[in-house]
């Protein structure tokens, strides 16, 4: 079954035709990597999936229904975006993690410390001032913040950039573990082709606003990717 079915997705930003007709299916429970050159529209595409921006034309079906007909808040709680730049909201790490659950009225069932551990940080981070974390720590807090919403789909925009090499693989493993144990579907944007081959079931290659090929991770040839 498809979690997402995207067809003919087009989006112009200012003068740029950023998405030029994307066709892509995302299968339930898979980890799909999205690779492609800088500026090819990867981040923009992720932002159309949680409807942070509106398509000019084309359609996106989430579990069979057009996202246009859905309540945006409900969609975004189910399809959580972890942005390329980890933006911390004012307050402590714990407040950041509980922000979404609190608005959703499910704060009580949410354990910030557990989410932190799932994202590869220690639970002691809870009380820290979120604005004073390092770049890599912020990345992991924003992952924990997304997991706290118990989404069905995670949209990860270069989640391991800025994390030191030793921790990258550990973070990959934690993301995969969290995804598998929760039955999540993951769309994972990365520039790191070996990483894409390590973590994903399938890899989609985006060029100039179009998906030029989708392959199983094992069959992906990375010379052609850029």
């Amino acid at each position: 079954m498809n979690v997402f079915r995207v067809s003919g997705a087009k989006k112009r930003l200012g003068e740029n035709r950023v998405l030029r007709g994307i066709d892509l299916d995302v299968r339930k429970g898979e980890v799909l990597s999205l690779v492609g050159p800088s500026g090819s529209g990867k981040s923009t595409f992720l932002r159309t999936l949680n409807r942070l921006i509106e398509l000019d034309s084309g359609s996106i079906l989430f579990k069979g229904a057009s996202i246009i007909d859905m309540d945006p808040v409900g969609l975004r709680r189910n399809v959580v975006l972890v942005t390329q730049e980890a933006v911390m909201l004012p307050g402590t790490v714990k407040e950041n993690i509980l922000y979404g659950p609190e608005l959703a009225g499910m704060k009580d069932g949410c354990d910030a410390g557990k989410c932190l551990i799932e994202a590869g940080l220690s639970a002691d981070f809870s009380a820290k001032d979120a604005s004073k974390l390092s770049g890599g720590e912020k990345k992991r807090v924003s992952l924990a913040r997304a997991l706290a919403l118990r989404p069905e789909v995670l949209l990860l925009d270069e989640p391991t950039v800025g994390v030191d090499p030793k921790r990258v693989k550990r973070m990959e493993r934690t993301i995969l573990k969290a995804a598998r144990s929760r039955g999540l579907t993951v769309v994972w944007v990365t520039h790191d082709i070996p990483q894409a081959m390590r973590v994903s079931d399938r890899i989609a290659n985006l060029k100039k606003g179009k998906v030029v090929e989708v392959k199983n991770a094992g069959e992906f040839e990375w010379e052609g990717a850029y």
Partner: protein, 265 residues
Amino acid sequence: MGGGILSGLPYTWEEGLVILGLTLVLFVLAIAVSIFKRIGIAKEYTIALIRGSVQLFFTAGILYLLFEFEWWYYPIWLMLIAMILMGGYTSAKRASKMPGAYKVTTPSILIGGTIVLLILWITGAMPSEPQFIIPLSGMVFGNSMTICSLALNRLIREFETNRPSLETMLSLGATPKEAMEEFARMSVKAALIPNIDSLKTLGIIFIPGAMAGLLIAGTNPILAAEYQIIVFLMILCGGLITSLIAVYLARGMLFTKAYQIAEWI
């Protein structure tokens, strides 16, 4: 027209013209200095002075006619409407980035100002006479206009600089209302600061218009002060209500119906 009915001014209007001429000499000198120092405000200043004077004399002419006119309450409605539209338009120009900003500013100024004027009227602080209605509504709508501009401008600036935070909150399932709450609060607060400051310095640095007028007209200073506080309080309330409505209405312009940040930001 001689010294006039209300005024305690100790000279005729012809003599007043001479005094105006003398003060203009000082103005010209100041402008000359600013040209010499290349401050770059001479032209704008002069145009503003001419424009302001023409407007003021024009209004004075209308007031003069109104005060004499038995059916003054008909044209006064037109004046009030003109004040609101002008205020809405001017304030919208200050927030010109926002398409259709007048749809935010005009109702805010209308509602904020009208509530306060009604209270002034019902309590008897504003007798049904043009001498009271015109200057008081001018002050109330004028202040509402300024505050509306300040609040909107600040809010737009907050949106421009905090776009990533706003999008993060939306991505975590916040509604526009929830996402902008903090920025709306800050904008209202910032817009009210000039009012609060003038309230603080009331009577020390700043003898406001209504009181000055009453004193010149020979009112008992205590009574004048009391009246000034009533007026000031109402002007402040008007500004507060206006700014609250403005940030509320602005929400529909800053976000799309699908809870996205509007494209013009």
